[in-house]
Symmetry: C2
Subunit: 217 residues, 2 copies
Amino acid sequence: MDGQPGRRERKKQQTRQLIADSARQLFVEHGFERVSVAEVARRADVAEATVFNYFPSKEDLVFSGLERFEDELLEAIRDRAAGETILAAFARFILMPRGFLAAGDDESAQRLLEVSRMIASSPALLAREQQIFARYTASLTGLIAEETGVTDDDPRPGVAASALIGVHRTLIEHVRRHILSGEDDIPKLGRSTRTAGKKAIALLERGLADYAARRSS
Amino acid sequence: MDGQPGRRERKKQQTRQLIADSARQLFVEHGFERVSVAEVARRADVAEATVFNYFPSKEDLVFSGLERFEDELLEAIRDRAAGETILAAFARFILMPRGFLAAGDDESAQRLLEVSRMIASSPALLAREQQIFARYTASLTGLIAEETGVTDDDPRPGVAASALIGVHRTLIEHVRRHILSGEDDIPKLGRSTRTAGKKAIALLERGLADYAARRSS
DNA sequence: CCTTGCGGCTCTAATGTTGTAGCTGCTATA
DNA sequence: TATAGCAGCTACAACATTAGAGCCGCAAGG
């Protein structure tokens, strides 16, 4: 679309990346709560105001990746090909390998582990993560309601959005659980995650009518 | 005086250094005349206007070090201790090891060689260097005239200034000549340069009356 | 001759970054 | 409880950098 980003835009992304990396290092070293934004700024050799210029809050230093992901997810659904169902667009997007799992090298695994530990060990971060999921669930609800043109009373958009975001939540948990319990074969983890994703989507596709219909023995 | 320079000033010096280094690399690779300022800017990943913001002209990309040296020389003379002669202050300043010669590692020697070759092979640069020396000779003349409080007609400040700047010229030539003819023992070159400097100053101290009084045999 | 284009260099408006002060809420300590 | 200080965050003015247009001299090619 835009060819080369131009020097200005490129340097802005460098600055943003530098801040995000500095923050991650410090948070992993000392824990999220024990690191001040001023320290992040100092490590990135940047003014504190610059940090807040790129990341509205300290938590966003951790979750900017997640938020971008959700933004792209919504966009992928909004701009899906004509005739494609929302569930299909969602599946296509979420099953696409990306990020740490796509890289697959040892260093990525190490970072994924550290970040997972960091988030898991901070109540503030876990709480914020839930807020983010809630916010995106609401956005997705609105999008679905808009596209299907139903009344505000109709519960179906909210249920569908919760189900979809729930898949994402579940897959993230899947990755964290395996990473935190020592899994270090990233390609394998990627495969098992995709398998789980497919199962989840298949379940949503065919409905819950016959799911766990009988109590197990 | 100012403790830490502050982030702003520090980053400015980084930028300045980055531009100067990029320019030196390119000039050494392709020759001064065949490299455009736009290319320097591109290698430094900086706007062309930024280059001119730090270096008023393309030649200054090469001679900014020399100009800073001359500035400091004038300052050292202006601010010399009470009772110290101009010649003594000059001697103290110019005999102090610094720059490439002070470093003494192989890489410095390599760079000194490359820069010397670059200047020697560019008429434009050689011409500009003479202009710079002339400008500083004039400045120094003014300074001496001011401090000794003589009439504009008095030739002595001009002669003294020429003599002093002449010492500097000569020492630079000394270094270049040895470097270009293959000398790569930088500490040794530093010593021989300082020896030459002392001889030159001694000559100026005692006057030319009995210098080369008799034709050699 | 003339035009075209390049390179050194200048100018201006827009935008990114910094420095500094200050507000709020919380925590430690007197 | 009062007070002081720290951390997250905001606001604003000063400053550094960028983008883009444009001027001038000059050399190459029609």
